[in-house]
């Protein structure tokens, strides 16, 4: 990849910004189509199969329908905030794709950013502001409740996610996302070296992106449509799109941080130089992203319900947060004791996998949901 275009920063920026935006949108088509067909199989349905081969263009048709529909702004809504909320939700999700290394340190917008993990944490939280804005500006109680639930979820689950990311950073010795992939290339995938961190990150991230069954921003059965109740037309389409793009981004993040990113174990993993290696790396990454996305869809389809909001908050603060702290503690000790050695991955796996099982068993016994019926007279 030593072409002049990529040595020129602005050329690099232009190419990869376009690639991030259009790549994300194209991926959306593929994943959304697959998601809908896959989801239908879980529900003993066929799914959309009329428009295009295997119903592939159904997503496009739906998007077009959304775009052509009337964009209704409620009379009592805050028109400015109501208008910019979808954009506030949209842009961080697209911006997050900048950090992903697709095939090497140069394939991607800024994959070698030295504060990569901090960038992820910071930008992904901006979505919450957009959701709250949408909920507040709609002048609808359902929207407001949805926005409040979304922000409460994001604030609570930010902690376990960040702490799980610290574990990754500690083990890799860098915050750069590409550095983390390279560390996994050397040591082994972090899903095996810190399974507890992986699980915490996975659950926390699902909560942060309001992925069903943790879709507290939407809560269809309770809040009608949550934050997007008062949205229609293209703006509603953007909210829907963001929901799926966040899912895809989460799959990218999990694949990159815990499943070795573009690297692959064995002799296949030694990527050749030049364009061939780049394409192979992107292929490996996409394969992993696809598998993670399948797991996400699987969880979405088979969970019989979501927790109540107080149980859900309790799960973050009483369940995931202490586990995440313990996870960092264990990993830090390991890094101090065995760090840098050739036997470090073996030790990490030997300690962390049993520790993960034991801690989860222990917490499932200790953890109590609490909540329950409130004495209403005490409130009044």
């Amino acid at each position: 990849m030593e072409s002049p275009l990529f040595d020129n920063w602005w050329g690099h920026w232009g190419v990869f910004t376009a690639a991030c935006i259009f790549g994300a949108l194209t991926l959306l088509l593929v994943f959304l189509w697959f998601d809908r067909r896959y989801w239908a199989r879980f529900q003993i349905r066929v799914g959309p199969n009329r428009y295009g081969p295997g119903g592939f263009f159904q997503v496009l048709a739906d998007g077009m329908k959304m775009a052509l529909k009337e964009d209704i702004i409620p009379d009592r809504a805050d028109k400015v905030l109501h208008g910019i909320a979808p954009i506030l939700v949209m842009f961080p999700v697209v911006a997050l794709f900048a950090i992903i290394p697709y095939a090497n340190a140069r394939a991607g917008l800024v994959p070698d950013l030295n504060i990569g993990l901090i960038y992820i944490v910071a930008i992904s939280s901006v979505v919450g502001i957009g959701l709250l804005t949408a909920g507040w500006a709609s002048s609808n109680k359902y929207s407001l409740l949805g926005g409040m639930r979304a922000i409460a979820t994001i604030v609570s689950y930010e902690f376990p996610v960040v702490l799980a990311l610290i574990g990754v950073g500690l083990m890799a010795g860098t915050l750069s996302v590409n550095g983390i992939v390279e560390a996994q290339e050397q040591n082994g995938w972090f899903i095996f070296m810190q399974p507890l961190g992986f699980l915490i990150f996975f659950i926390g991230m699902m909560a942060e992106i309001s992925r069903s069954p943790f879709d507290f921003a939407e809560c269809e059965s309770e809040l009608g449509c949550g934050v997007n109740t008062e949205y229609s037309g293209l703006r509603f389409g953007i909210f829907q799109m963001v929901e799926f793009m966040e899912g895809i981004f989460m799959a990218f993040l999990v694949a990159t941080l815990f499943l070795g990113g573009y690297s692959f174990p064995g002799s296949l993993g030694t990527l050749p130089e030049g364009a061939g290696g780049t394409i192979l790396g992107i292929g490996f990454l996409m394969l992993k992203v696809f598998i993670v996305y399948l797991v996400l869809g699987w969880i979405k389809c088979t969970m019989p319900g979501r927790l109540r909001i107080d149980q859900w908050m309790g799960f973050a603060w009483k369940g995931l947060l202490p586990l995440a702290v313990l996870n960092i503690f264990i990993i830090a000790l390991e890094v101090v004791a065995f760090g840098g050695g050739a036997d470090f991955p073996a030790w990490a796996m030997l300690i962390n996998i049993p520790a993960c099982v034991l801690l989860i068993l222990l917490w499932s016994r200790l953890w109590n949901t609490g909540g329950g019926r409130v004495d209403v007279r005490a409130i009044r």
Partner: protein
């Protein structure tokens, strides 16, 4: 100038309760039920149900029709269990006119009523899961089972939702030959599918966390509110009209009355699940004993029952369904009154919901298994 302490009292954090209007076009109100709930944050403080969005004046309409013409109107009461509505109405009219029903028709009525109960309960479970927040997956599996039942009903009546199959003095036509075979096949296969649903959902951690203890109703309250059906039995009250006041030929069948303990959402779910198994048991026995013969007693085309009144009740899927008819010896009932189970099951709604959170309120409403066609009439 106030002292700091006085000002502290003024700016003490106060929360304003707010009214949230749930329904009539909310996704989880099972039709057009509407309730205005006063919330303090997420906690429900007071509930005000508002009915009447599906009022069609069925009782009044029935008084302008002949006794037979009123049967299709009863279909539209509890439209998820039309057969049992037909049965309840026809039984009352037969009681009023003193008509005896042939043996075979009684068996057909029992078979179809119990299949209807299976269909109604399995949909109740599916919708309950939807209210819990699942993305339709359990509902589709429930609907798959209901689909087979609808095929059976279509076989006997030609309709899939509003059957209009029962007649005063029997049923409109004999069941086709293949119905018995298909019904037998269904009751043989169905328990396996039900076990599948049972294994997946009953012990599920998320479901138990959400449902156990939620919306608990004491047995005393349930009786005082005149609840019936699964809602009453979940509270531990052992009462089932099929056994306590046997109508039709229910005294010939062997089945258990299922009761819960706590009267919460989880117990209502379990009672429904177990009742489905008992219904399948009854259908098996009835199919085994199904006699031949007539299915319809001959009577005048325009029925003119003697002056008087009659009330009879059955154990419908959702509870005790009663019809009250007054005759003035004309071709139309003088008074036509329905005792709907779900309206009375809905009456303790406030007691159940107050103190629970928004998500629980939806779940509790779902666990009562309301059908608005019956509540508003």
């Amino acid at each position: 100038m106030k002292s700091l302490e006085e000002r502290e009292e003024v700016i003490e954090l106060e929360t304003d309760p707010y009214v949230l209007n749930i329904g009539p076009h909310h996704p989880s109100t099972h039709g057009v039920f509407r309730m205005r709930v006063l919330f303090d944050g997420e906690v429900a403080v007071d509930v005000e149900p508002m009915l009447g969005y599906l009022h069609r004046g069925i009782e009044k309409l029935a008084e302008t029709r002949t006794y037979t013409q009123a049967i299709p109107l009863t279909d539209r009461l509890d439209y998820l269990a039309s057969m049992t509505n037909n049965v309840a109405y026809c039984m009352t009219a037969e009681k009023l006119a003193g008509i005896k029903v042939p043996e075979r028709a009684e068996y057909i009525r029992v078979i179809l009523s119990e299949l209807m109960r299976v269909s109604s309960h399995i949909m109740a479970l599916g919708f309950l899961m939807n209210d819990l927040g699942s993305l339709f997956t359990p509902l589709f599996y429930a609907a798959r089972e209901r689909e087979k039942l609808l095929d059976l009903f279509e076989m006997v009546s030609g309709q899939r939702l509003l059957y209009n199959y029962m007649r005063i003095g029997g049923v409109s036509q004999d069941v086709p030959e293949r119905f018995v075979k298909k019904a037998q096949q269904f009751v043989d296969e169905f328990p396996g599918y039900l076990d599948e649903i049972d294994n997946l959902l009953t012990e599920n951690e998320v479901f138990r966390m959400r449902a156990e203890g939620v919306g608990a109703l004491s047995a005393e309250d349930a009786i005082n509110y005149s609840c019936s059906g699964p809602v009453l039995r979940a509270c531990g009250v052992n009462r089932d009209i099929r056994r306590d006041d046997p109508y039709s030929i229910y005294d010939r069948f062997d089945f258990d009355v299922v009761t819960g303990e706590n009267g919460d959402v989880y117990d209502r779910y379990r009672v429904r699940l177990e009742e489905i198994r008992q219904s399948v048991r009854i259908v098996k026995q009835a199919l085994r004993d199904l006699p031949g013969g007539e299915v319809q007693t001959k009577h005048a085309h325009f029925l003119r029952p003697p002056v008087g009144e009659a009330f009879s009740r059955i154990e419908a899927p959702k509870g005790e369904l009663g019809f009250y008819l007054v005759s003035d010896n004309s071709i139309a009932p003088y008074r036509f009154h329905v005792r709907p189970p779900t309206l009375l099951n809905l009456s303790p709604l406030r007691d159940m919901i107050v103190g629970w959170k928004l998500a629980d309120a939806i779940l509790i409403l779902g666990s009562i298994d309301i059908v608005l066609g019956e509540i508003d009439r």
